[in-house]
């Protein structure tokens, strides 16, 4: 048995799991495909139901993971192959070229300051811009710049500006091989692609945005510095409507499950909108409000009674846009009164659900059963929710099914425990 583990995916689940496993004395390889760890949680402004700052929880954990003597962080890396040989997993990993020498880059940012290319920032959900040489966000771990070759125009300015001589535009992908005794899969989720719900006009109407984009608008470190402005004209919206269950509990999207976080994240974002713009009119259109967790119902009641957020039971059937004002019109039936209405809103937030990421090859290498919902299935969802049918492979976080941050962290720690027990045997 190799006394080392590998965690695939560096979101909150993966980071927590890697930390717990490393704290027990095992070497942990933490693999992240993006330039920085942090995952979706790093994009969030606040967390429900306490309204704690998400970054204040996430970034210290990221820094811990980056510095932990037992964690080997392989960011901007992808798995090319996993082979099981006896009780050893032999893993081939490609370190994608950053075109910046990791050992030399100090993260000073002079390169990005001078880079003339602007690209829509993935981290800001397209609402802001980054440069062709970039870190996704200032607290990135590792704090190493990366050149996005597709956008780079090879002007060479970054190379000229870098005092550490770290830019190396000739870098090639590098393959490394590791051997581990246990694997934790924590590959998380992707946001449901709301463009497929054509009736909502997402991707066509600029003022229809997703819940994750609205996190970036709300965030003080976001593209607008936390100012609530609508994308089409930078005006402060006077009215915002949330539409729940976009791509969740929806036969037409093929997602029959509840994404479990949208009711609360919409409620949270609605509250924060009210905090940022006190006069703003916020309506949440829902089928059911599922406030099932500790403190959730109280949170929902506060939103209604303290913050004056309106909740209307009725699934919005269609959004249209006035092309001149770019205001949106929502058609719905208030199913509690039976009345139809068309409500005008300056901006619409779609509470897009959570879907399993396209893990192209992972299921091939790790043949863990996958449920009808697209998420991995544990060997016993009740009694053993982190162990899988494949010996030595564990799952944590949304990779097992939609869940919120507390549940993800619990499962991550549980997976670390199970993995360490397994490694010890």
């Amino acid at each position: 048995m190799v006394k080392a583990g590998m965690v695939i995916g560096g979101g909150i689940s993966g980071v927590q799991c890697a930390l717990d496993l490393a704290d027990q004395g095992y070497v942990v390889y933490l693999i992240e495909k993006n330039p920085s760890i942090g995952g979706k949680m790093a994009q969030l402004d606040k967390t429900f139901p306490t309204l704690d700052c998400a970054a204040c929880i996430m970034t210290p954990k990221m820094v811990d993971a980056g510095r932990h003597p037992n964690i080997r962080l392989l960011a901007y890396s992808e798995i090319r192959e996993i082979k099981k040989d006896g009780d050893v997993f032999k893993v081939k990993i490609v370190r994608k070229p950053r075109y910046v020498d990791e050992t030399k880059c100090t993260g000073c940012g002079q390169c990005a300051l001078h880079c003339p290319v602007e690209v829509r920032s993935e981290f800001d959900e397209g609402l802001g811009v980054r440069r062709a040489i970039y870190v996704p966000f200032p607290q990135a771990v590792p704090l190493i710049y990366t050149i996005d070759k597709e956008s780079c125009i090879d002007c060479g300015l970054c190379e000229k500006m870098c005092q550490a001589k770290a830019v190396d535009r000739s870098q090639q992908p590098k393959e490394v091989e590791i051997e581990v005794g246990a694997i934790v899969v924590s590959t998380g989720y992707e946001l449901f692609d709301a463009r497929s719900k054509e009736e909502y006009g997402y991707g066509i109407y600029p003022n229809v945005i997703t819940g994750l984009a609205s996190e970036r608008l709300l965030s003080a470190s976001g593209p607008t510095g936390g100012h609530i402005v609508r994308p089409s004209d930078g005006r402060i919206p006077e009215s915002v409507a949330f539409i729940q269950c976009v791509g969740s509990r929806d036969e037409k999207s093929g997602n029959l499950y509840c994404s479990r976080v949208c009711c609360m994240y919409a409620t949270k974002e609605a509250m924060l909108l009210k905090e940022h713009v006190p006069d703003i009119d916020v309506t949440v259109f829902y089928m059911d409000v599922r406030a099932y967790g500790k403190g959730f119902e109280e949170f929902y009641q506060r939103a209604k009674h303290e913050f004056g957020i309106k909740y209307v039971r009725g699934r919005v059937a269609e959004i249209t846009e006035d092309p001149h004002t770019e205001n949106l019109y929502l058609k719905a039936e208030n199913t509690e009164t039976g009345e139809f209405f068309e409500q005008e809103a300056d901006m619409v937030v779609l509470s897009a659900g959570l879907v399993s990421p396209k893990n192209d090859n992972l299921p091939k290498w790790l043949p863990i059963p996958i449920g009808d919902d697209g998420f991995f299935v544990s060997s016993n969802p009740k009694a053993d929710p982190v162990t899988t049918k494949m010996e030595g492979v564990f799952i944590a976080g949304v990779t097992e099914g939609p869940k919120d941050i507390p549940d993800s962290v619990i499962q991550a720690s549980a997976a670390a425990m199970k993995a360490s027990t397994f490694l010890k045997e």
Partner: protein, 384 residues
């Protein structure tokens, strides 16, 4: 009719009548809110479904709104539970049909189909009058054709829609297609009859039509109407090899076999027929034909494809009027506002309802409605 009390057995009756997903409904309200008819009329789909689930028979069955559904399928396409509200409404209608409780205009249409094979109740011997001066083969003459052109009722009898049948036949002739029609032997396809809820008559029509088609050895069919196309493709006990004419011409366009001899300097928009688009997911084909016409400038209506608004001609609505503003009137104004000179249609019902709306909105001379066949004829279709 049973009293207005909770009666859980009624839901079973509705399920047996064909609404087998009735109990999946969770009352989210999507159906009511997206209904192109209900938002302006008395149709309250969600409420109807709830009452049917609870067995409030009288309230459900005396609801005049039931006859205002156009069966456009918008609710069915958007229902998050896939409960198929359209089919629920059709099933409720079928219970009323069984009891003879139908609006008189609907009853007349059904009688017309029963007696003469068309809902206008015009005698059979006039069915192919529109073709009398055209060079067309009749299936009854014997000799197998490559293609059967199934004309449909409106294009056979309605003077405006007859022009579409003539244009389609002219276009097929211009392309040198070996085709025939059923002539006076042709009967209603039954699509509207099914939507009205007269499933017994629909079954008879389907059976008769299938045996007629078999008798003439028909292998491949092209229809004028998306409604006939839908009946043959989805509602008959066996699916036929059928294409709507827009598919047929789009295929020929892809094969490079279509050429036009004239330019058509017109701005054209397109109204998606529900039974082509929402029911059968055919959106690109009509657009391909229009865009291929030299000089034609194609513009989209603000809501199109899956978001298109029904003309309110389907589901028996040709025979049930509702006072007040019509969906087509708003649609005509939209078309004018985007600078369209022609509203292209691909369905006889859209043709007739839009023709009306252009008049009632006072837009005659500013904009006209044309079937795609007529556009193609006007552009001088030539076989390549």
């Amino acid at each position: 009719m049973a009293p207005n009390e909770l009666d859980m057995s009624f839901a079973e009756t509705v399920v047996k009548a064909g609404a087998n997903k009735l109990n999946l409904c969770i009352q989210c309200g999507t159906c009511s809110a997206c209904c192109p008819s209900g938002t302006r009329t008395g149709l309250r789909t969600r409420q109807v479904i709830r009452r049917a689930q609870l067995g409030l028979q009288e309230k459900v069955l005396l609801d005049k709104g039931l006859w205002l559904c156009t069966t456009c399928s918008t609710c069915t396409n958007r229902c998050p539970r896939d409960a198929d509200p359209t089919e629920i409404l059709i099933s409720l209608r079928s219970l009323l049909v069984e009891e003879g409780q139908v609006p008189t205009t609907i009853r007349d249409a059904l009688e017309g189909v029963y007696k003469y094979g068309n809902p206008w109740g015009i005698i059979r011997s006039k069915r192919s009058d529109w073709a009398s001066d055209l060079k067309i083969k009749y299936a009854s003459e014997g000799g197998k054709s490559e293609l059967l052109y199934y004309v449909g009722c409106a294009p056979s009898y309605d003077s405006r829609a007859q022009q579409v049948a003539r244009a389609l036949a002219t276009n097929l002739n211009a392309l040198g297609v070996d085709f025939s029609i059923l002539g006076n032997e042709e009967s209603c396809c039954g699509n509207e009859i099914y939507s009205i809820g007269e499933k017994g008559l629909f079954d008879i029509l389907a059976e008769d039509n299938l045996s007629l088609l078999d008798r003439h050895g028909v292998s491949r069919i092209v229809t004028t109407s998306p409604h006939c196309f839908n009946a043959f493709k989805n509602r008959y006990v066996r699916s036929l090899d059928v294409q709507h004419y827009t598919q047929y011409f789009a295929d020929l366009t892809d094969e490079g076999k279509i050429r036009f001899s004239r330019k058509m300097e017109k701005t054209v928009t397109f109204q998606d027929p529900c039974y082509l688009g929402k029911h059968n997911n055919i959106y690109n084909e009509p657009r391909k034909i229009i865009e291929n016409i030299p000089g034609a400038k194609f513009v989209e209506l603000p809501t199109s494809r899956g978001r298109s608004v029904c003309c309110e001609g389907g589901g028996g609505r040709m025979w049930v009027d509702n006072p007040g503003e019509r969906a087509t009137e708003a649609r005509v104004r939209e078309a004018v506002s985007i600078g369209a000179e022609v509203i292209a249609v691909a369905c006889p019902f859209c043709l007739l309802t839009f023709d009306d709306a252009i008049k009632t909105t006072g837009n005659e001379g500013k904009i006209q409605v044309m079937d795609i066949n007529e556009l193609v004829t006007e552009a001088g279709l030539v076989h390549r």
